[in-house]
């Protein structure tokens, strides 16, 4: 599987990663290897196999609809990079 430099740049942008040219090159190689392995799987005839959605064969794990109050928010806000009046503060987002 051959990737273009564009593909790497798009993936980096979507992931909000700032990559150096060197990093881009190294990641491109690694991604090509991973996708190459996927291509190998495509050789199998999987027409009648349902796509796996989960690695463990479990279903229906529920919790009852009970509300509780978590006590962690003060500690978590304490660790936030920036905060103001009980809220997380982030660079201005144009609504």
């Amino acid at each position: 599987m051959v990737l273009k430099a564009d593909d790497i740049e798009k993936a980096a942008l979507l992931s909000r990663l700032a990559l150096s040219d060197e990093e881009k090159k190294s990641i491109q190689e690694k991604l090509e290897q991973i996708l190459g392995y996927m291509e190998k799987l495509e050789e199998l005839d999987l027409k009648n196999v349902e796509a796996t959605s989960h690695a463990v064969s479990l279903s229906n794990v529920f919790r009852p609809d009970h509300a509780y109050t978590s006590k962690e928010i003060e500690d978590i806000l304490e660790q936030a990079p920036d905060k103001a009046s009980g809220m997380f503060r982030v660079p201005k987002v144009i609504g």
Binding site: F62, P64, D65, Y68, T69, A84, M87, V90
Partner: protein, 477 residues
Amino acid sequence: MEFEAVIGLEVHAQLLTQSKLFCGCSTRFGAKPNSQTCPVCLGLPGVLPVLNEQAVNLAIRAGLALHCEIQLRSIWARKNYFYPDLPKGYQISQFEKPLALRGHLDIVVNEKPYKIHITRIHMEEDAGKLLHEHGDEKSSHVDLNRAGTPLVEIVSEPDIRSALEAGEYLRSLRAILQYCEVCDGNMEEGSLRCDANVSIRPIGQKEFGTRTELKNINSFRYVEKAIEYEIKRQKACIEAGEKIVQETRLWDSARNVTEPMRSKEHAHDYRYFPDPDLVPLILADGQINEIKKNLPELPKAMAARFVKDYQLSDYDAGVLTSEKSLARFFESALSHHNQPKAIANWIQTELLRLLKESGKSIEVSPVSPLQVASLLRLVDGGTISGKIAKVVFEEMFQTGKDAEIIVKEKNLVQVSDSGSLEKTIDAVIATNPKQYEQYRSGKDKLFGFFVGQVMKETKGQANPNMVNDLLKKKLSS
């Protein structure tokens, strides 16, 4: 050229649960910022989401009420994007295998029926809220109380052809969700939100035109306005030889226009994939049937019952069932005074008018169903006239007092004592000899004049039927 609009609506409805979709934080509206958050809905590393069973039941209920096929197997997906109101960097949603498919909603617009198909209903979690206006130019504040709140997204087919139909679809959808207690339908608080996909095409053309997506329609009365504006804008665009740009536009309710969203967002690329933290949801037919069996009466069925059992008109039944709380009010009043037509009329004319004037909803009506029933009992029993009842009702609405008390305090009891009425009539005739002569010589129209004079003398408290009878007798004797 004649154009027609092609409209599809995406409606997000908040499910009426106590706790969030994947954690136990409360979903109550209006709490102190971030007081209803925990490591799960804040997206801290190492936490595991666990599905709220009641949210699933409510979503199934919505699907059944909208005639959808409930899917026996549905799965959870991550929708990936970055925004400060989304702490995990992805929203847990359903993509490939949603909970419900292929439903419909029947609506009536200008007495014509329309069937609006529903493509799918899927469950997902809500994002948080960003606050901008706080005298801080350089930053936004993030409140994550809403993050993780359970929603269903109800996606319609592009079956809608006018703003009016869109409004009616949304009103009917809201009523159904309220009736089955899935969502409170409060657009102002954001528990019901609506995005509209709008395009136009020349009549007769099969292919769709380029569509725009309208967002920020955050009040019921803006839905039709925003769509109407957008249809006009697209027509003007095409007639000027321009191309419609596929884009998201925000409704600006202050200026009554839609405007392109200013955003550096790159073309949506959500890279959905199955969420490894959540196992599939497998439903059994028995469970779905059980929910179906217990579906509450829906608005259409209730309106039909009102017509059949109470002999109301289709129109009256439609108005009374347009909101569940209104229908409840009506039936509750009826249980105290079994006069369906009188109560229906009173609610529609007097109560709804006063509620509208004071900007109140029926849920917080200052007059209770029992109080309405008691007032009408006074009218039907002849204690007060219908005219006086209106005055009494306004006072009830202002003060919350019972009708009986106001009638007593203000001495408004109807005069049904024929002796005293006769005296008044004699006096009225005596002071108006000219009119009396004219009436006697055949000017029948003057009868109304005499009724008016008697009512004036009695300050409107005379029993009108008795006034009519006695006047007729006296004037012709």
